[in-house]
């Protein structure tokens, strides 16, 4: 199954809670808090672009999430 890297920018103080919610979602293989341009990074395995879109949309609606950036695996 293809992979995607979802990078999440959060309001101050909310990353731990956001991470906990993200890790509880289907398709999320790993996730962790980071410093820098983003606050949480997650690796997602998805069956279809629609499913990935729904996952990213769900993440974007978590309380504390400001924005997301998703890098999708492409076939070379």
């Amino acid at each position: 199954m293809p992979l995607a890297c979802i990078m999440i920018h959060c309001k101050p103080g909310t990353p731990p809670e956001v991470l906990k919610t993200v890790l509880g979602m289907g398709g999320i293989k790993r996730g962790f808090e980071v410093l820098g341009a983003f606050d949480v990074v997650a690796e997602c395995e998805f069956k279809s672009l629609e499913k990935l879109g729904m996952t990213v949309y769900s993440i974007a609606r978590i309380n504390g999430v400001v924005s997301t950036e998703t890098l999708i695996e492409t076939l070379l």
Binding site: C5, R30, V34, L35
Partner: protein, 74 residues
């Protein structure tokens, strides 16, 4: 273990080779090419935080790698 997400910019003609070389590195758990601001994404794991610098140097030394952005687990 410390988890790392590396975002890599590579010469467009070298992306496939860079991915192949990264796949052989023991610390790399998942690697895939992508479009957008970056060309390759690599999820890695190292034993200790002190090894992050060594890993970044090794990845930066791969022929075709132009720039890396590294996000280390808190």
């Amino acid at each position: 273990m410390v988890q790392i997400c590396m975002l890599i910019n590579a010469e467009k003609v070298s992306v496939f080779d860079v991915v192949k070389k990264l796949e052989k590195m023991p610390s790399v758990r998942e690697v895939f090419p992508t479009f957008g601001r970056f060309d390759v994404v690599a999820f890695c794991e190292v034993e200790k935080r002190e090894e992050v610098g060594t890993l970044v140097k090794a990845v930066s030394a791969i022929e075709g790698v132009l720039k890396t952005e590294t996000m280390v687990e808190l």
